[in-house]
């Protein structure tokens, strides 16, 4: 379906702006999304996730940030999987996606255990703020 839309867009572009050189060059650069764009996107999400872990007080939000970090990694993996699929003509192309599935599984398991810990902790201390969890302090 995407390709169909793509098709239509190209027809439009070619009929309309075939002559104007500047417009074409701009579109060329902008609408030429390759693996680098995905990598930049995933690194941005990764950094945002890290910022969340570093700055938030609420443990649950910290957990969400960790999920975000894992998601960034997933985007990376899938992008490389697709890239490799086209480079190697389909050989070993699905390993990235399979790895993504495992990452999702582990993330789910981690969320379950982590949230269990949060509930247990909340029951004892009546708080989920990280700065009040300081039993490890000297």
């Amino acid at each position: 379906m995407i390709n169909l839309l793509n098709h239509i867009l190209l027809i439009l572009l070619q009929s309309e702006a075939a002559s104007s050189g500047v417009k074409e060059r701009l579109l060329e650069g902008l609408f030429n999304v390759n693996i680098n764009n995905f990598l930049v996107l995933s690194s941005l999400l990764f950094v945002i996730g890290i910022a969340g872990v570093l700055t938030r007080r609420n443990v649950i939000v910290i957990f969400m940030s960790i999920e975000l970090i894992l998601n960034a990694v997933n985007i990376n993996l899938v992008a490389f999987s697709r890239y490799w699929f086209l480079q190697s003509e389909g050989k070993n192309a699905y390993m990235g996606e399979i790895f993504t599935i495992f990452v999702i599984v582990v993330a789910a398991a981690e969320a379950v255990v982590g949230l269990g810990i949060i509930i247990a902790y909340y029951r004892n201390k009546e708080t989920v703020a990280v700065d009040e969890i300081d039993l490890m302090k000297w």
Binding site: I50, V53, L54, T55, R57, I62, V130, D134, M136, K137
Partner: protein, 797 residues
Amino acid sequence: MDLIWLIPILPLIGFLINGLLAKRFNFSEKLIGGVGVAAVFLAFLLSLVAFFNYSSWSKQPGNQAKPYISKTLTYTWIAGGKASIPINTVNTSNNTLEETSKNNIVDLSIRWAYQIDHLSALYALFVTFVGLLIHIFSIGYMHSQGGFARFFAYLNLFMFMMLTLVLGSNLLMTFVGWEGVGLCSYLLIGFYMTRKEAAEASKKAFIINRIGDLGFILAIIAIFSTFGTVEYQEIARLIETYPVETLGTFGVMSFISLGLFIGATGKSAQFPLYIWLPDAMAGPTPVSALIHAATMVTAGIYLLARMNFIFERSLTMMLIIAIIGVLTAFIAATIAITQKDIKKILAYSTISQLGFMFLSCGVGAFVAGVFHVLTHAFFKAQLFLGAGSVIHAMKDEQDITKMGGLKKYLPTTYKTMVISWLAICGIAPLAGFWSKDEILAKTFSSTIFHPVIGKFLWFLAFLTAGITAFYMTRLMALTFWSEQKFLGETASDGGETTDDSDKESKTEQHQGGGSFKIRAVTAGTINTESTSSKDPITSDRETNKSNAETEVIKEQRLKINLEPSVLVVNPKESPLLMTLPLVILAFFAATAGFIGLPIGYNWIENWLKPIASTDTHLFGTVDIILALVTMIWSGAMAYFAYHIYVKKPQIADDLAIKLKPFYQLSANKWYWDDLLDVKLASLINKFNNLLGEVDRFGLDAIPNGSALITRGVSILSGSMDRYGLDLLVNLIGWFTRVASVILRTFQTGFLNNYALVIIIGLVIIIVGLEYQAIQEFYVYLFPATPKITPTPTPGIK
């Protein structure tokens, strides 16, 4: 036949089930026993099938005498690299080894593989069979004692280890099994871990076995460095090029043999290292029967028979083995005469019989040794189980001088034990006769040493055979035939036993209705012992209670009219579960000898021909005469014992007083234990004290003089220390304290801080490693504006 890997694995499964699940899920005793027995029973069936399959397989052309190696569960266990091993050649002129300059490149990889051949088929068969019977016996014996599941788990683990030992295709696997059975032995000797002597005995057994294992390890290493492999098949193939080392020389083969022999000495309880086996009787009786009489201790003989081609190449070691064997047999037999503990007698008897087997291997008759292993396994297991039955009936009393007259109480046990007694004494058609006599005949006619040595060894063995008959008869006499020396409850108040049985039957009827009723019936009565047997939860409590109650009764009776040393028990024949193995074992104790008849078809010799070469000695009149003489001698000794212990008991005491030095020697186990335990230790202590005295008066004068000088100097340097060096030390301490204050602040205990530190590390790594990239990026982001070089202003003309 490819299923032979299952033979060891099945008991392992049993071990896992009983060991891991039984306690957690509160298995009933029936289920635990069922699992344990079923695992061993299946293993036995499989070994039976494997035995016959292998028998037909090895007869096919091209397979002759080859071991069959299971394809399943075979993998490279230890993968080493390539190594070069010098090739030896035999110098034919003076029959010695010479190293050639060429090296043989070998692949040092050891595989885990189960193999079956003539020897291991035989061993696996009798190990599983005897093991099976003893498992069945244990269900009855261990009934309602604590740790039922633990016991069966250990027994199954032992079976696994023993079968790995027997069925392994290389020395290292055998070593794993070897250590494994040692471990199981340790665990099972110390089974009653609350008893101090059991714990100590288990430690003793374990440590003394380690001494032997050291020799075994050295032998394995020597074999590895000589042949480049530890596979039995390969060693047997490679050994062909090595010459026989004659008496008095000590070469590679002798070294390997010595190591293997030390290993076998430890495991099979031979002369210097035998002291652990009698103490090992602190374990439960089925364990003594299975591990310390029938199977584990014969592992040494297995090793000797398995590596017989190496031993045959070292006549020095053969002689040492023979001498150690016969010495062990003699010493252990003489010790057994005066022991009072029924199990200790049997333990010394086992040591003595193992000595016979070693003697047999020492004179080159490996087949006869294995044959004796087989027959001995049956009658000794039977004797131990019979002893277990007696102990069970006597409520854990093991002193035979307090028994007597048990014949009428325990008819089945008695009858079966009589058969084994005759077998071990070597009376004609029973199993022990054939194997023991074969050993004696082979020793008498051995030609590998000087004939006189053979005759001498034979004479000692012959003496030992008589002593064996003597002490075994003493055991039987004091246990079964002589006057009753304990007080049966029937004697004191006759009606009670009938009451007892009535109550039992009553409660047994009620058992369908649940435990509640049983308790209701037995509440308030005294004899609750056997009532709660089927109820696992309450059984412990109930037996404790009833034990306490019987103690009370005992005390009361003792107060009234009895001396303290007289027991009050009411011996009863053991249940069918315990007597059935006795009967089966007795049957084999009677008939197992017919597989090795010296005349006609000697099956076992034919069967083991691919494993061990047999000498061409023919059966002649000398052998018949020897056999007759031995039998008459044994019979005479047996009658003598019967005479002095049953007919006229006072003779025995007289003899003990008259022959006091000998009696003391025997009763104190030839002082060997004392020598090791006390004398050696005190000797070392004395030596230490002597050194201390020398130190104090002789050598101390010099230090004392120098000490004075030192003190003067030290005062001087002390003051320097205090004001000079201490400042430095204090400075260091102060610095540490300040640093700790600073560093401590990093330990905030907050999650975010720790994460921050991780990220700082990450940033540092990135900056450090990818400095180039960052620079480029900087340039990319802020492209350097091209410097406007000031154009040289044209000069004004």
